[in-house]
Amino acid sequence: MGCACPELTIDEEPEMTLTNANPKSVLTGAHFLDGDCACSEGALAAGANFAAGYPITPSTEVVEHFASRIPTVGGVFLQMEDELASSIAIVGAAWGGAKAFTVTSGPGFSLMMEHLGYAAMTETPLVLVDVQRGGPSTGLPTLPGQADMMQARWGSHGDYEIIALCPNSPQECFNLTIDAFNFAEEYRTPVLVMMDECVGHMTEKVVIPPADEIKLYPRRYTSLPPSEYLPFRPGPDGIPEMAKAGEGYRAEVTGLTHDEHGYPAMNWQAQHKLVSRLVGKIRDHADRITRWEERQMEDADVVVVAYGITSRVAERAMQLARAEGLKVGLLRPVVVWPFPDKRIRELAARVHAFLVVEMNYGQMVNEVERCAGGQARTLLLGHGGGTVHEPEEILKAIREAAS
């Protein structure tokens, strides 16, 4: 399922020296934090120095926490007038040289879609956190959901690929936010962190390591002089080097289909050349990007697939099932997009069934079913959100899947 961009050799990765986090921004130590605050600390540890946001439950704490920390670390938080402004202000800040992010939930996520596409089109590194709640529309502001997962992949118009990570604990909210910033810089693309209200509002131990143990992927600024630099000319790995305003590069950045100069080029040839590269940039590196965790897979007949808070309930259900002698494994996608296609395909060849447990009426199950290719049954245990699944109901579904 690769993307033909014949002049690129995807395997050539440039040598990149990772840098250490800045100790000034890292709150080293063991803390008792909720997921939202842990995410905010992750952003700070990653070197985020610009955030724009708009209050929306259950995500507001992320920016509230950032607002209280950033003036003593060095950077800016501005509460904007709406999510439309927040999502474009971070693009502007990135082109001014900042490491920028924003945070929202369902209704705000919908508003930010245009600018997610703009960031993908202009290859602007940034992070967008969605703390999912019950939907659709205003839904359940204070209760969890996982129904934005497909929107994360397809929410903006047009063709683009997205990287999205899914934490299942406050510790992961910290860790995966740093990973998100690193992916954003490595692939010069917007990256999503798909939390849910439960993970966002649960309080657990979060260990924040010393700054020199936190490795950051530096922004890939060009070292070419302005006369030689083209802002959208890809390197050997399909990714262009970055520049920022104020250094004499006089770059042109536009959301219109453009050539390597960044000049609008509205014809099908330019479209093919640009969009196939944007899609291929991530699709062809999917194996390096995607990540998942497995439990007890060696002899599994039934594989439970779950992510976010649901994966923790599913783990309990798996323990109960194993106690009953059922051969159950758990696959937890951590990087949800790109989806771990290959692994599902491999497992489909030998397992009896996949049971996808998610807080929606069927989103990631479609991916599992697609990859299973009819070789194994794919079942859904979904619900509308507002609460997490019970271990017993997952256990019941596992039993049915095993029969």
């Binding site: 003036p71 502007g92 800040a93 082109w95 001014g96 040289g97 703009y118």
Partner: protein, 283 residues
């Protein structure tokens, strides 16, 4: 003896010429004024960034040989806010049209003025959405014909200088594309002004607005601007409404001092955090 070059040429992306604007459109005229103002104000050009939205005027960014950002419809101002906050050493100029800045961008316009973000906003007002074929905008005068108000606009339009002033802009001026020297001078003042500066420039759209309203071509409109403009520097902005083919009050209406967003932010943090405040000089 060397061949002289057009003074606007060093500011243009020569390989993007000719531009897409129609014969008699005034946007190119304002670009000449912009180039002249950049020369006169002696701004270091690698620190000047132009941010545009979508529309005919929105194409200005793409034609200028500067750091230029062609953003989404209505969102040039918040993009510019992020850009300026990330790098306060930049001189950020928003260059866009009436529909883009005031309709879809209206909310961002008033908030940036309220905050006194240190940017210059140049609004080329041709009373229409030109790029999409000539629809009505929030500045279209009462009674004017547009594709989406084919029997005449029935909405009261915004008075942009009044909107800008009441939202908090520290520099507000209106000129027409006829007033080329005044425009260049206003731009110089706006570049040097700390805070949210707003310049409205009336301009012909001969292909759509003028044609549909039987107002002749670009030249006829420029003649109308010359004949019916009344320069009233310091006029009260609530008195400068524009009516269909009426008199046009032009001039510099507001030029006051107020701390910028950067300054108020800095001041507040210093006051409360004292020497714990890390400051912010930019990314």
């Amino acid at each position: 003896m060397s061949i002289p070059i057009n003074p606007v040429e060093p500011f243009l992306r020569a390989d993007r010429m000719p531009h897409i604007w129609c014969p008699g459109c005034g946007i190119g005229t304002t670009v000449n004024c912009f180039a002249r103002a950049l020369v006169e104000s002696k701004l270091p050009l690698e620190k000047v960034a132009v941010v545009s939205g979508i529309g005919c005027t929105g194409r200005v960014a793409g034609y200028m040989h500067l750091d230029s950002f062609h953003t989404t419809h209505g969102r040039a101002i918040p993009f510019a806010t992020g850009l300026k906050l990330a790098n306060p050493n930049l001189h950020v100029v928003v260059y866009s049209g009436d529909g883009d800045l005031i309709a879809i961008g209206g909310n961002h316009f008033i908030h940036a003025a309220r905050r006194n973000v240190d940017i210059t906003v140049i609004c080329v007002n041709n009373f229409t959405y030109g790029m999409t074929g000539g629809q009505v905008t929030p500045t279209t005068p009462l009674g004017a014909i547009a594709t989406t108000s084919p029997y005449g606009c029935f909405e009261r339009p915004f008075n942009l200088p009044f909107l800008a002033e009441s939202s908090g802009a520290v520099y507000v001026a209106r000129w027409t594309a006829y007033h080329v020297r005044y425009i260049a001078h206003a731009m110089v003042e706006a570049f040097q002004k700390k805070g949210f500066s707003f310049i409205e420039i009336l301009s012909p759209c001969p292909t759509l607005y003028q044609r549909r309203n039987k107002m002749g071509d670009g030249l006829d409109t420029m003649r109308y601007y010359k004949q019916r403009s009344i320069i009233k520097n310091g006029a009260r902005t609530q008195d400068v409404d524009i009516s269909l083919q009426g008199d046009i009050i032009v001039g510099k209406f507001v030029d006051i001092e107020r701390p910028t967003l950067q300054q108020t932010m800095d001041q507040q943090f210093r006051q409360t955090l004292k020497d714990r405040y890390a400051g912010w000089g930019g990314a």
